[in-house]
């Protein structure tokens, strides 16, 4: 984690310099807007990494991870959500009923995601409890 935000923010700063150059020299609203949007996206990403862990902005190698985390092996919910996007947008162009079918699939996918997240937390608690008993 340590140092993780540095390359993102550094790159964002180089982009910012080039975007300013573009704005000064080229001065077109669409081009400058697109370049500024890209800078904003990269900075937002870097800031999110930084806010998640403050050490992301500090230099040096990361330390060993000590926190416990659940590792999902499979997710039907993620697949269904991905498919629902395809289904709904396909419905926009070809068969309207697929649009509604896609939306229904999305809702089901989100429901399934909640179930998976709950199971994940339960498994984590169970495994950690067993380790503590040992």
């Amino acid at each position: 984690m340590r140092g993780g935000a540095i390359p993102i923010l550094t790159w964002g700063t180089i982009l910012l310099v080039l975007a300013v150059g573009n704005w000064v020299w080229n001065g077109k609203a669409v081009g400058s807007g697109a370049a500024s949007a890209a800078v904003l996206i990269v900075y937002t990403f870097g800031a999110a990494v930084w806010l998640a862990r403050r050490e992301a902005i500090r230099r040096g190698p990361p330390r060993r991870r000590t926190e416990d985390e659940a590792v999902p092996q499979a997710s039907v919910a993620a697949m269904v959500i991905g498919l629902s996007a395809g289904c709904a947008l396909f419905g926009l162009a070809w068969a309207k009923f697929l649009l509604y079918f896609g939306i229904a699939m999305f809702v089901l996918g989100v429901g399934r995601l909640i179930v998976e997240r709950r199971a994940e937390r339960a498994t984590r608690r169970q495994v950690l409890g067993e380790e503590e008993r040992r």
């Binding site: 990269v42 416990d68 999902p72 997710s75 991905g82 396909f90 162009a93």
Partner: protein, 549 residues
Amino acid sequence: MSVATGRTARVPVMGGWLGTLTSTDHKRMGLTLGVCSLFFFLLGGVFALLMRTQLAQSNMHFVSDNSYNELFTMHGSTMIYLFVTPMAIAMALYLVPLQIGATRVSAPRLCLAGLWTWICGGLVMQQGWFASGGAGRAGWSSYAPQSNGINTPGVGMDLWVIGVILAAAGMLVMGGCVVATIARRRAAGMSVLRMPVFTWTALVSMLMVVAAFPMLVLVMILLYIDRHGGHIFAGFAGAIDYQDLFWFFGHPVVYVMFFPYLGAAAEAIAVSAHKRWFGYVAFVASMMMFAALSMAVWSHHMYVTGGVTNQYFAFTSTLLLVPAGIEYFDMIGTLIGGSIVLRTSMLFGLTFFIQFLIGGFSGIFVASPVLDYHAYGTYIVVAHFHYTLFAGSIFGFFAGVYHWFPKVTGALLREGLGKLQLALMAVGTNLTFFPMFFLGNDGMPRRVSRYPTHPGWGTLNMLETIGAGIIALGVLVFVINVWTSLRRRVPAGNDPWLGHTLEWATTSPPPPLNFEAPLPPIRSYAPLLDLREEAIDRARERAEVTAGG
């Protein structure tokens, strides 16, 4: 579900097709994405062969004009949105967590949703072939107003737009997950300046995906609205705005399709030269600069429109030569003094650099407004971008395949077949694309289904068609090689090439959480090479002590 408590753990794997399709293991997601991309590569290759058959002679009627428009649109779209870019992401998804010592990818569910969104995008785009009026036919860039509802009506074009939205959104999500993995999940000791060369190339590529792909999604949504009566890209200003927005994605994606393959070629060359990559810090700095500059050159595609400031974009485009030069310098520096083994991966890596050089040199022409006025809309441009995108990316891709196939499958590919494939592809590529420079200079326009009888054009076009056939033969040899190598396996072991990076410290193929044994100490971007060099130093010291005693 399993729990990792800051250390590696054994995890049961869900088997079967459902296990593969729903797996959140980065390796299985990477493989699924890679295999689907390869399928689209073969499909895009078939489109190319049909086009080359049509162009083999002047005034051919092998396909209709409309079908030809569909073919070049779907060839370009399939190769860019469904093969080269996603394959780069697939390699990053598979390899980056292994190279940085992570047990998994960040936000694996989001990544899986992105994968399925991309798959849907590919399928939706290809559905256009079955629509009345045919598939999308306004080119892979689909300029407005040509792509609007009046000039290109039909469901096929709508499906193309929606396919691009889905594919781009999927790749955006997966690219974001790779960046987050690098930012958050590096192993203890793996500082950003100890990350392997391939990981750096993947990082800058995925940063470009994160920064530029939202613009593609946006412009395609606007195009969809425009096609259905929105009049967003109306008139000259609208057409220029479309191009500005499109190329803001369209030029960076060229480098997304280049950097990871550059990283793959660099790893293959360094390992086969038994030497660490030369000039690492300069390389990292040049990658950052290269990636940023490539986000600032987009309007060099628009010189002839008269709607952009040519000087600024000519300046930034020419600046790209500096980081590109550093990479070539580093490659040569790595080879000098190395103990070189000419493996297939090494040969593909070297060919990658040579082929891309031709693309780079021709890029100087199209980056210069004066010369671009001459080259624009001709086969010079087709030759240039095929030398960068096909000759560049594909040779780097195969360097990576021959380098990492043993890690992914546990089996070695046949070297003899690999070298035969390389020879066929190198001959085929240059036979196909080099004559295009002459045709373009002579004024042959791109995107025409037929050309008039003209001295020399017929012969050069015939040569190109033969070249395309030879490339196809090369791809066939690769398919046979993979089939043979998986059917009659020659076990690779964990580290058949004496690799430098962490992926070679685990089993082949790697276990679910990547590493079962503790990681070696990470003191540089080549930790396994460090270990070997330390062992050699210790042995030398012992020998000296023994000799002295």
